[in-house]
């Protein structure tokens, strides 16, 4: 039997928060035990009951094999000799089968029912239909370590308002209506019919899953002796009976409807895109408040129950299409809900010229009080301006909202592949350097730069080809059946979002490893060309031997000691800006061959470790196989005092500036929050980074001594949450090498 909270006595909101948090910790402890290290977002996932589960190896989000847990005995609609199931019919049928067998989860302490226990993706083997061959791209993709995005899913934002308006019954009717229009019965073999079949299966599976919860809640209520708990369970039953087919009427029902959709999207393919939760919930909040049926504490609790079950990405405040700030009482309640529940969460607070400054202040206060890396901060004016630079009107740009690790999307109308496509700049540099040292008689940084630029151009071109390939085939391999339900145009046109179902295609291309490459260029320029302390031949030898021997170690330390990106005013800072500009120009030079717009960003997600594994030693003193640098951030130790202002200036100076982000990762000492002056200084720091051009800030408040101790003995701080990068996670859930990355950041900067 699953461990859920027993309904606390007394059944107060405070006691219920506590009970839910304790249950969450028990679930997390079980995940550590069964799955092991989890170098990703917490997701809010709960393990299935032991008798119903099996442990499998699956591909993680960062492309490495991980242990995952699945439900046993799910019938898979295999339709390919490879053993895979591809296309909307097979995928829809299999997902429906999973939903129909997914266990019921009702915690009597919570106000909402449901939870997800599996990743549907872990049933997909192989992930890609091998008939669709892209081996012609493999060599270059491997050489530049391109995360091509081919076959990757979600990472765009649905418009949840569609679901709140229609409910599952309305969605089913909409599918039926357009099916009749686009793929009538007499022509049932068209591709359109297949797509509608897949969508229909998803909705029917959802209705079954929700319906089983309604029945279970009724049974639990009947067996419950305590009236207040019985009432809660009866309300859950009634609410879910209604929501099987109808759209939500109340604030609580809206939270419950969103929970169902979000856990389904999470289960289907890991989507956590929410967007403007404050705007979505406002009408329900206002109606219930006016009717006197909802208190602010109850509203915060319902939101907290939603946050508990999914760690989706939420934007608070910011301009609407006309530029008017949307901050409202629900924005603050969402912050309070996270504050009271104290679990990993991904809430972004907008910071902009017209955005309510109170949100920023409250966000920073909570950041210092809770020290959980919540919330994060969004430079909304910069991303709006940047997106418009792609040729879009500001009215449209303002509607692009924060809905993923480092990214934004237009809800329901844009397909983005955000955070899925990355070029490892260190691999490009490595190729250029090896080539120069091999063939050039008079090597030098000027030649190295020119070769680097040539290879980067090639890497961008190969990436663009891969994007076109993906878009051509993805709808036939693994359509976005859950996100498609809440897009404008997919059902109407009978097309998956990847296949032309939405209006806008702005494809993300991120670069990773900026500081590694900038510092490497600078180390060569400084120590080889300016100071003459090393020759190119010696460098070649040291890199090939991974700085072996005493001489090698001395040379490594020398190269590490040179000018570093982030210090300010050094040659490394100049290189970083040149590289960022070159990358931006190359991505923006032209669209993909098929004509899709690409948008550059700088982000490595949590792939610094994996991306570094195959990179040989680099001239910045980095050992072979060590992690590459983090997103657009300077490498730790770039200055003795690691001044946050220096970091903020450095990262602001390398922004690509087309609406996708290059987030600043900032780890601050808790001592800063000891008085109002410190809080004010941090808010000024955040504002100034955005004024300088920054787009997003991932902030942690971490105590150096505590983090070192938690690294040595993770079990001692099971509830310590850190914002690893765009996402937040339990520190103890991370693998040792991942924890080390966080530790290195703190130790070098304080």
């Amino acid at each position: 039997m699953l461990q859920t909270s027993s309904a606390p006595i007394p059944f107060t909101l405070e006691a219920r928060y506590k009970a839910l948090r304790a249950t969450k910790m028990a679930h997390t402890a079980e995940k550590w035990q069964i799955i092991g290290a989890m170098n990703h977002d917490d997701w809010g996932l709960i393990l299935p009951p032991p008798e119903a589960r099996e442990i499998v190896q699956a591909l993680s989000g960062s492309g490495v094999l991980i242990n995952d847990v699945r439900l046993k005995d799910i019938p898979i609609a295999v339709n390919h000799p490879s053993g895979g199931f591809f296309g909307p019919v097979a995928v829809g049928r299999t997902f429906r089968a999973l939903l129909e067998r997914h266990p019921v989860y009702i915690d009597p302490a919570a106000s909402l029912a449901g939870a997800t226990m599996v990743n549907f993706m872990s049933y997909r083997k192989p992930h890609w239909n091998p008939d669709m061959d892209f081996s012609h791209l493999h060599e270059a993709q491997h050489r530049y370590q391109i995360h091509s995005g081919i076959g990757a899913t979600q990472h765009f934002c649905p418009d949840l308002a569609i679901g709140l308006e229609l409910g599952w019954g309305g969605l089913l009717a909409k599918i039926g209506y357009y099916r009749e229009l686009n793929a009538p019965e007499h022509d049932a073999r068209t591709a359109g019919a297949d797509f509608y079949d897949g969508l229909t299966d998803v909705v029917l599976g959802m209705q079954d899953w929700i319906g089983r919860h309604a029945v279970a809640a009724r049974e639990m209520a009947a067996a419950e002796p305590r009236p207040e708990v019985r009432r809660n369970l009866a309300e859950i039953a009634e609410m879910n009976e209604w929501l099987i087919s109808h759209p939500p009427r109340t604030f609580r029902e809206a939270c419950q409807w969103l929970l169902w959709y979000l856990v389904a999207a999470r289960m289907y393919n890991g989507s956590g895109a929410i967007g403007r939760l404050d705007v979505l919930l406002l009408p329900y909040y206002e109606r219930d408040r006016a009717a006197g049926t909802l208190t602010n504490d109850e509203a915060a609790f319902h939101i907290a129950c939603l946050l508990l079950r999914d760690t989706g990405y939420i934007q608070l405040g910011g301009p609407d299409a006309t530029g008017r700030d949307v901050t409202n009482p629900v924005s603050y309640l969402i912050l309070e809900a996270a504050h009271r529940m104290k679990i990993p969460a991904n809430i972004g607070v907008c910071v902009g010229d017209t955005t309510d400054p109170g949100l920023l202040t409250r966000g920073v206060e909570i950041m210092f009080q809770d020290r959980l890396g919540v919330p994060k901060f969004l430079g909304v004016d910069r991303t709006v301006e940047g997106f418009a630079r792609n040729g879009y009107p500001p009215e449209l740009s303002r509607q692009r909202v924060y809905s993923g690790c480092h990214w934004l999307a237009l809800p329901g109308i844009e397909y983005t592949m955000n955070d899925l496509v990355k070029i490892n700049l260190a691999a490009v540099f490595q190729t250029a350097l090896a080539e120069m040292l091999e063939v050039s008689r008079e090597p030098g940084t000027a030649e190295l730069w020119s070769r680097f630029a040539d290879h980067l151009r090639r890497a961008v071109a190969v990436t663009a080809e891969g994007l076109d390939f993906h878009l051509r085939h993805m709808g036939d391999v693994f359509p976005e059946l859950v996100l498609d339900l809440l897009c404008h145009g997919t059902i109407e046109r009978g097309l998956d979002a990847a296949a032309g179902g939405v209006d806008y295609y702005n494809l993300c291309v991120d670069a990773a490893g900026l500081a590694t490459v900038a510092d490497s260029f600078a180390a060569c320029a400084h120590w080889i060309e300016r100071e003459g302390r090393l020759t190119w031949t010696q460098l070649k030898h040291y890199l090939e031997s991974d700085w072996a021997g005493e001489d090698g170690e001395r040379a490594r330390r020398l190269m590490k000691r040179g000018p570093r990106f982030g210090h300010g005013g050094t040659i490394a800072d100049e290189y970083a800006m040149h590289i960022a500009r070159l990358f931006t120009d190359l991505v923006k030079e032209k669209p993909t061959p098929a004509g899709y717009n690409m948008i550059p960003g700088l982000f490595s997600w949590a792939s610094m470790i994996a991306m570094g594994k195959e990179i040989a030693a680099t001239p910045n003193g980095r050992h072979a196989g060590d992690p590459i640098s983090h997103g657009p951030n300077p490498d730790p130790g770039f200055r003795k005092d690691g001044a946050p202002t220096a970091l903020a200036v450095a990262v602001a100076a390398v922004q690509p500036g087309y609406g996708n982000t290059a987030p600043l990762q900032l780890d601050l000492d808790p001592g800063l929050g000891r008085d109002d002056a410190g809080i004010a200084a941090v808010t000024a720091l955040i504002r100034s980074h955005f004024a300088l051009g920054g787009t997003q800030i991932n902030l942690n408040v971490l105590d150096k001594a505590q983090i070192l101790e938690a690294h040595r003995d993770p079990g001692k701080y099971p509830d310590l949450v850190v914002r690893v990068t765009g996402f937040s996670a339990y520190f103890a859930s991370l693998s040792p090498e991942f924890r080390q990355l966080v530790v290195d950041r703190i130790v070098a900067e304080t």
């Binding site: 330390r557 000691r561 005092d641 202002t645 000891r674 000024a684 100034s688």
Partner: protein
């Protein structure tokens, strides 16, 4: 253009005056407070810091040193400070960063260029630049040049002074200073001498003169066990500060209720490694930071004086 000796420039200082600041640490001090947390700021000359735990015993410093100050033999690595002329050659040779030169000669132009990097943060936070040390007023021409240039750039300027300098030195800085932060450690002259190496007469006289002027004044008292951590000692300082407040009022220079304020800062023991690296004895090594309860009592005593006071 003037040249001066500094040992650090720290960006994002948030406890050395209002807002986000850059603090420039000038080297050399006229006090020898035994608990000083910036021991590298005491002497008026550059000096080599040696951090043995970083040393990889490569011997590069031995080769680089022309004065026989660095040794590497079967007994390990050692450093004879008496032979050191602080030329910095060993530091340059040390790739392990086990050697550091505390103190470098820089021009006011170089300092101001570094300070201006964070202008946007000062503007957003009502911050600015702070000259600290060491004792900034011991290099009055250099300090004045930095402050004047920063004022001309529109920055808020502050100095942190121990007060034990000729009045003329301070007076040179005041036209370009928006805030003076000054330590008051002990009202009893003998106890002051025992703790800091000098009596407090000149400090108190300077404080009185400052009180007669318009410049906002933040008095700071490091609460150090055995030096000033009794209610009576804090009360004595409070009485003196109350006198300063009436002096200012009498001079008709009061510009607001907080233009003279007071801060109590608990002693901490974070400087031990720095003393070791400089070959200095850390005489405060056995002191414990004052307990929270005691600080609360002292803070109450301070509040009773009626002076605006902030305790950490």
């Amino acid at each position: 253009m003037t040249t001066g000796l500094i040992f650090d420039i720290q960006r994002f200082s948030v406890h050395d005056g209002p807002g986000i600041r850059t603090t420039v640490f000038l080297k050399g001090c006229s006090l020898r407070c035994f608990w000083c947390h910036n021991p590298e700021g005491l002497r008026m000359t550059p000096e080599v810091q040696f951090l043995p735990n970083r040393c990889i015993a490569c011997g590069a410093c031995v080769v680089a040193c022309e004065h026989g100050g660095q040794h590497l033999d079967e007994h390990g690595r050692s450093f004879t400070r008496e032979r050191c002329v602080a030329c910095g050659k060993c530091v340059e040779a040390c790739v392990a960063e086990a050697l550091n030169l505390a103190g470098r000669h820089v021009t006011d132009t170089e300092v101001v260029a570094e300070v201006l990097r964070d202008r946007v943060f000062y503007e957003a936070s009502d911050g600015g630049v702070t000259l600290s040390g060491g004792e900034p007023a011991l290099q009055p021409d250099f300090a004045r040049a930095i402050l004047a240039r920063c004022k001309a750039e529109g920055l808020h300027t502050a100095i942190e002074t121990c007060g034990n300098v000729p009045w003329e030195n301070l007076a040179m800085l005041l036209p370009f200073t928006d805030l003076v932060m000054m330590d008051l450690k002990q009202m009893d002259a003998e106890k002051h001498r025992a703790a800091t190496g000098v009596g407090n007469e000149r400090i108190l006289a300077n404080a009185r003169r400052l009180a007669g002027m318009r410049v906002p004044l933040l008095l700071r008292t490091p609460v150090v066990p055995g030096v000033n951590d009794t209610p009576a000692e804090i009360a004595a300082i409070a009485a003196f500060i109350a006198e300063l407040v009436s002096l200012r009022a009498g001079a008709g220079n009061g510009v607001g209720p907080t233009d003279i304020s007071w801060e109590l800062l608990p002693f901490h023991r974070l400087a031990a490694d720095k003393y070791r690296s400089l070959g200095l004895e850390y005489r405060a090594r056995d002191l414990n930071p004052p307990p929270r309860e005691l600080l609360a009592v002292l803070s109450e005593v301070a509040h009773a004086s009626g002076v605006p006071v902030r305790a950490h």
